[in-house]
């Protein structure tokens, strides 16, 4: 004020000698900091429970359950991979090495919550309680989705990367608008974080404070492209800060740690705190799928280093050391897993029953005239063929 006054004075009072030139700085923009980034930043080191004092706080029942599920998951991956070699599955993207992430993702959810899996997340879907044969329908090739998503609150396994993330946001948002206590947990890989839909989903979720948890399983590679060529971010969890949500970094091979971090993120979402981005650092032990040759893009040494940090062995070691698991317990878990695999093998060896007329049954609520014509054409072709029309065994491949 004084400066303005002084200037005014000097311009109107001509008799007085000019005073010193007063510098008036241009005003700053009308800007206020929106949020403090510090609480959103992930810890620099992945959170761990195994091998730390945090184990003593963990629920022993939970630890034993996680172990049993890990062993089953490992066995499931092995059996499904074997089924690809027998031609029973068209393809299987193994999650061997990532079982802790898969199992924890399923176990942190309540019944009314929704899981949004990607194509590699069969284990999570099975651990949530879905019939394994229904979970493998996509990969077997007899239909795209083998279950009613609304009945199980599991979205279809998504193949295009990150496109399921906005679905999770929309569903969680809709549930909240209806006043329902529902959290959506959306799974995505490290490669998926480069997709536009990842960005748009996180942005929408943060703006809407939607009850969503984004769970990135960073297994090191998007098919053959390593993380260093995927992103220049300090970590994938750091991406959260730009959207205004917390980012959390966890050891993805430490089942109780993943469970704890996801539980906290789910709790936060449920209580109206909005979304969280969790990055689990893990490793894909097998190739991308059985159609991929991982030796072309990574060395044995790297794989061996990660085998030493195996999620099943880590938990087994911890539980044995603490006297919570003995040889009998280990054998029992293995026997249960073998029995599960045997049942799966038997059921997958049975030929699926296919109805070719299903091709036209689920395009629209009401078939268009064009589809009715085409359905009639196929019907006629089936009737003319030697095959019994409604059996259609083995026609899929």
């Amino acid at each position: 004020m004084e400066e303005v006054h002084a200037l005014k004075k000097s311009s109107t009072t001509v008799q007085e000698p000019p005073g010193p030139v007063v510098h008036r700085p241009t005003p700053p923009p009308a800007w206020q900091p929106r949020t403090d980034p510090a609480p959103l930043l992930p810890d620099p080191e992945p959170y761990r429970v195994l091998g730390t004092e945090a184990v003593t706080d963990a629920d022993p029942e939970l630890l034993r359950r996680l172990y049993a599920e890990l062993v089953r998951g490992r066995r499931f991956n092995a059996q499904a991979t074997a089924l690809t070699k027998q031609g029973r599955l068209a393809v299987y993207p193994s999650s061997t090495g990532q079982e802790a992430c898969e199992v924890a993702a399923a176990l942190v959810l309540q019944e009314q919550d929704w899981l949004f899996p990607s194509y590699r997340d069969t284990l999570a879907v099975v651990a949530r309680g879905l019939d394994p044969v229904q979970a493998l329908t996509l990969l077997r090739g007899d239909w795209h989705t083998g279950y009613d998503p609304r009945e199980h609150r599991i979205a279809p396994l998504a193949t295009p990367l990150a496109t399921q993330l906005p679905h999770a946001v929309g569903l969680a948002h809709a549930a909240r608008l209806k006043g329902d206590d529902v959290v959506a947990l959306a799974l995505v890989g490290d490669g998926g974080t480069s997709e536009g839909d990842f960005h748009e989903a996180l942005n929408f979720a943060a703006v809407w404070k939607a009850p969503v948890v984004f769970f990135v399983q960073n297994n090191g590679f998007a098919i053959s492209v390593p993380l260093a060529k995927q992103t220049a971010a300090p970590s994938l969890a750091h991406k959260a800060v730009g959207y205004g949500m917390p980012g959390r970094l966890v050891d993805g091979n430490d089942a109780p740690a993943v469970h704890a971090v996801l539980t906290e993120a789910v709790r936060r979402a449920r209580s109206g705190g909005g979304p969280t981005l969790v990055e689990a650092v893990t490793y894909r032990i097998e190739a991308h799928t059985n159609a991929d040759d991982a030796t072309r893009y990574r060395g044995d040494g790297e794989v061996e280093a990660w085998r030493a940090h195996d999620p099943v062995r880590l938990l087994e070691h911890e539980l044995t050391e603490r006297g919570m698991l003995d040889g009998d317990g280990i054998r029992k878990a293995a026997d249960d897993a073998d029995a599960m695999a045997a049942r799966l093998r038997d059921r997958m060896n049975a030929e699926p029953e296919l109805d070719p007329m299903d091709l036209f049954a689920h395009v629209y609520a009401e078939q268009t005239a064009q589809l009715r014509e085409q359905a009639a054409q196929l019907r006629a072709e089936l009737d003319a063929s030697d095959e019994p029309a409604d059996a259609g065994q083995g026609e899929a491949r």
Partner: protein, 343 residues
């Protein structure tokens, strides 16, 4: 799909000529009043009421949770609508301008169009995707595309476009009521076209999937839809001086396609011109002409002709009148239907 009566507007539109934009807004308003599951979603649809004011007043009447201004991200708008529909809502999304909808195309093609099919019928997606489309309003680039061929080429979508005020109301109500995704193309140069839209005597519109003969004639059939309907009706009037009695079929729905109405008309007239402003090569006219040829070959007196936009990216506004099929170009095509005389 259901037949919807163009029902009585309550106050503001009564006893006045209504624009297509007003009828569309009324359709959304009445759908929202009838069904709490109907939610509007898009960029600028709330406080501003949409850049064309088609959603004007909906946020004020129903609240921001029902008519929501989203972040500026079309894939996010449509992708979140998928999740909302999975949870039982009936989202109506706005894609501000035709060419702004392209980022959402993956969601549209990979999920919206396929979710019912992927899930063996368990998860239908009742989503209406409103896309203001087409040129003729002097818009700069990316504001005037006719993108209907992309949508038509994607099985699982309904693709419809009204050309009258009555249809704008009735078809949008039907689209929102549909249990399948509907790409609802709004011809933006007809937004301000008016009609006496009588609130006392509801006009029943044909259900989605049916074409309508807007003008009967005996010499040839003009098959058209959306923004080109007015061009064709004008051309039909002008053609009377040349002795041509033209029939004009308004398709209204590109998917599903009403072969029955089109075929009946062309068999009566023996000649057909397909008129649309989207480009001709790979455009809707090729499909329509092929369908007519397959079904009417022995009834045709001349090849089925197409009058379409040129095969160019949409031109700048000062040149668009040279690109858009106008009355003269339609009349030239009609003149070329004198096939037996020339050959």
């Amino acid at each position: 799909m259901t037949t919807v009566a163009s029902r009585a507007p309550r106050t503001d539109l009564a006893a006045k000529p209504a624009t297509m934009a007003q009828a569309l807004r009324r359709a959304m308003r009445d759908a929202m009043a009838d069904d709490p599951a109907v939610h509007i979603l898009g960029e600028d649809v709330g406080t501003l009421g949409g850049v064309f004011r088609v959603t004007d007043g909906l946020a004020a009447e129903f609240g921001e949770d029902r008519c929501t201004d989203t972040p500026l991200a079309e894939a996010g708008i449509l992708g979140t609508a998928v999740g909302m529909a999975m949870y039982g809502l009936r989202p109506v999304v706005e894609m501000q301008f035709d060419a702004f909808a392209y980022p959402a195309f993956e969601q549209l093609a990979s999920h919206v169009a396929k979710m019912r099919n992927r899930t063996h019928g368990a998860l239908p997606l009742p989503i209406t995707i409103r896309v203001p489309y087409g040129g003729g309003i002097g818009g700069v680039e990316h504001h005037s595309d006719s993108s209907e061929a992309y949508y038509m080429a994607t099985p699982g979508l309904h693709v419809v476009t009204p050309a009258t005020v009555e249809d704008a109301y009735g078809m949008l109500r039907a689209a929102i009521a549909s249990d399948d995704p509907v790409v609802f193309l709004e011809p933006k140069r007809l937004y301000w076209s008016k009609a006496r839209w009588s609130p006392e005597a509801p006009v029943v519109v044909e259900p989605i999937g049916r074409a309508v003969v807007r003008r009967t004639g005996l010499s040839a059939t003009l098959v058209t839809y959306g923004p080109s309907l007015t061009v064709c009706l004008e051309a039909a009037e002008a053609a009377r001086a040349e002795g041509w009695d033209l029939e004009v079929v308004d398709l209204r729905s590109l998917v599903p396609f009403d072969d029955e109405t089109v075929v009946a008309s062309v068999r009566r007239t023996g000649r057909a011109v397909v008129v649309h402003e989207s480009n001709g090569f790979g455009g809707p006219g090729g499909e329509i002409a092929a369908r007519i040829n397959e079904r009417c070959f022995h009834h045709l007196e001349a090849p089925v002709l197409r009058v379409a936009g040129f095969d160019i990216p949409y031109p700048p506004p000062m040149l668009e009148q040279h690109h858009l099929p106008g009355v003269d170009r339609v009349l030239d095509a009609v003149a070329r239907l004198q096939w037996e005389a020339d050959s």
